[in-house]
Symmetry: C2
Subunit: 395 residues, 2 copies
């Protein structure tokens, strides 16, 4: 199978998974236990935490902020969103407002829709046709009672890299103009950014960021959260992870995550170059397929506003699902946007719709995403097959 | 190290962990992806789910209800508790009430304390001096607006097996007497029960139950929830696990969990016999240590109201932490109650206090918990060491 669905999940690094399983078996104490087996496990866990923190910052001296291990990117995002409810419980009458991009992952979008039923209001900021949310649009949505701003680092369907540094500054400025003593927290879902493009949450001025191990060839069920300062979690329990994430610590997952993260960060520049080459090949090839359209319109190879690892394209007249299925039959794995959305709202193309892509084009869209193991020949084989299938099946 | 802290976590089955890591590497598609790699992973995940469901019921025909994989027991418990908030959002003005035992694990107890700040009221039902919550006491706490009853299956400090079947019936009866059309849901934290003592949530009449893989020699970061009928979750996202637990499915974790569960359930009777023998040895040995007291008072070997895997004992005049640390120095791992509590409220002995154990005794309490790898000689070595350390350190 030619795998071009890396944004959904990545083929794990087998050696790292096996090493983590051996660690789990050998160093099996509960890190919260006070006996020797517990303290040994705790030491390993803290080593994993430090190593992951170092992966997030340009210099060792800057490895500040706190890393909280979670069960995945979704949970890390939920922690950031639900923390706003704690604020609410302290000042019950106060209205609560969140600003989010309209193109967030379901882990954020669906949670915000649910919170609306509890009286938490969200302003969804639409991106431009280029898939980018502007700092101005985010700033305009800030209110006196805005508790949180959440904008993803890299969109999982278009690869659009959101201008987080500028957004943080614009939010702070808007809050000042409203006479607020402190700006709202700014959270970033960074599961498609960390380990793939340069990403330093401290430098960006973020309050928190969410990461996922399995996007980086690590295990499922492991994620992490970077926090500039601690927060008050809504889901609590045994006090693990500084009280922010309850549940017995998954040492093997944390260990494997720090290993894949180190590997990804160490080779980030060369991998990015590799991805840029594949992107150029993909976009040129797509432009050569009569009728096929790269999304967002006019995205060119080498445009640094997009992650080269992710590309959307439309094959008008042919449903994305049908094309993806036909490609799967030919041994090629691509997706129609987020795998997570395939459960909930299969037909909805929310991200593309928010960008103003007309339904007849979003209907025909697929997402191609590459990774370290992707070869130029894989891209060629995809292009050749997609062209053939499209010619055969299009109306 | 002689490991007598199995209730905190268990030494994983290395072969099962390695097999799961190999599966993760080979069958790496996202189970929610529609391409072939996704559907292959989905098939494996559903196989794991079916196998786990069969472990929960006496007969294949009874394997009803729904299994939801989670990141652990804590998350499964949180799902059950937080679902009550959805009810609330639908009828904002309605008061919300929960009944819980006073001896729940921190994953439940701390969450209920936090929800109090959101206006969710909990009645905590104290157990008797024997550590058992009576159906009558639970029934007496039921109100017209009670949305949920939560009582653990086996207490993690005393091993007391709560009479869940009788509690479910008493709750239903109390609800009827209050003129309610439907009784409140009854949830059970069953992480110390499943795979250790016979446990059939359907037969008990439960609405939901929470399980943890790492208590059964499985991986950390994996748990499950049994549901008699679906519920409305409070934390949502990509729609995975029937919409009840968001996040990319952890196939390797689910697979390993079903494997360790099958192993545990298949050998349950013989393991229980083994645990009873160790319990008898432990209790007899404890009674022979001058001053040491088995908790709850008067617990005898072979009493089927207690899980033989868990025993608490007090060494009056010597702090439990000090004894546990001294034992650790001698190569023996025991704990002072829940490892989870060691983060949050180290000094609090909430469970023992709720049973009416006086502070001077709960202060000196440790928990000894055994498992399939525990040998009679391990118990002897613990008893001999504890007696020696106690004689040396007690006032």
């Amino acid at each position: 199978m030619i795998y071009l669905d890396w944004a959904s999940t990545s083929p794990p690094d087998r050696a790292i998974l096996l090493e983590a399983a051996e660690l789990a078996a050998a160093c099996y104490g509960n890190p919260s236990s006070t006996h020797r087996l517990g303290t040994e496990a705790r030491a390993k866990l803290e080593e994993a935490r430090s190593r992951l923190a170092l992966c997030l910052h340009a210099t060792k001296e800057a490895a500040r902020g706190c890393i909280v291990f979670t069960s995945g990117g979704s949970e890390a995002n939920a922690i950031a969103l639900l923390a706003t409810l704690r604020k609410r419980s302290h000042a019950r009458a106060a209205p609560l407002h969140i600003v989010a991009s309209a193109i967030e992952h379901a882990a954020i979008h669906e949670q915000l829709r649910l919170l609306a039923g509890l009286g938490v209001e969200t302003s969804f900021v639409r991106p431009g046709a280029n898939g980018l949310v502007t700092p101005e649009a985010v700033a305009a949505a800030i209110r006196k009672e805005t508790a949180l701003v959440t904008v993803m680092a890299v969109n999982n369907e278009t690869g659009a890299i959101q201008p987080l540094g500028d957004i943080v500054r614009a939010v702070a400025c808007a809050a000042r103009e409203l006479g607020r003593a402190t700006p709202p927290r700014v959270h970033a879902d960074a599961v498609q950014a960390f380990g793939k493009i340069p990403f330093d949450p401290l430098k960006l001025g973020l309050s928190s960021a969410a990461f996922s191990a399995h996007k980086l060839r690590g295990p499922r069920g492991t994620g992490a959260m970077w926090l500039a300062a601690t927060l008050e979690p809504f889901v609590v329990g045994g006090g693990q992870e500084g009280g922010i994430r309850p549940g017995t610590e998954n040492l093997a997952g944390a260990w494997a995550f720090s290993n894949v993260a180190e590997q990804a960060v160490t080779s980030l520049a060369s991998e990015l170059q590799h991805a840029r080459e594949l992107e150029a090949r993909l976009i040129a090839g797509m432009e050569a397929i009569p009728g096929a359209i790269v999304l967002p319109f006019g995205r060119k190879a080498g445009d640094t506003r997009y992650s080269p690892y992710i590309l959307s394209a439309s094959f008008p007249g042919l449903a994305g699902e049908v094309l993806a299925r036909a490609l799967s039959d030919e041994g090629i794995a691509v997706s129609t946007g987020s795998a997570c959305a395939s459960n909930a709202h299969a037909k909805e193309r929310r991200v593309l719709a928010a960008m103003g892509v007309p339904p007849e084009l979003s209907f025909g869209a697929i997402r191609i995403s590459t990774g370290t193991l992707t070869l130029p020949a894989d891209v060629d084989r995809f292009l050749e097959t997609a062209a053939r299938v499209y010619t055969r099946l299009k109306p």
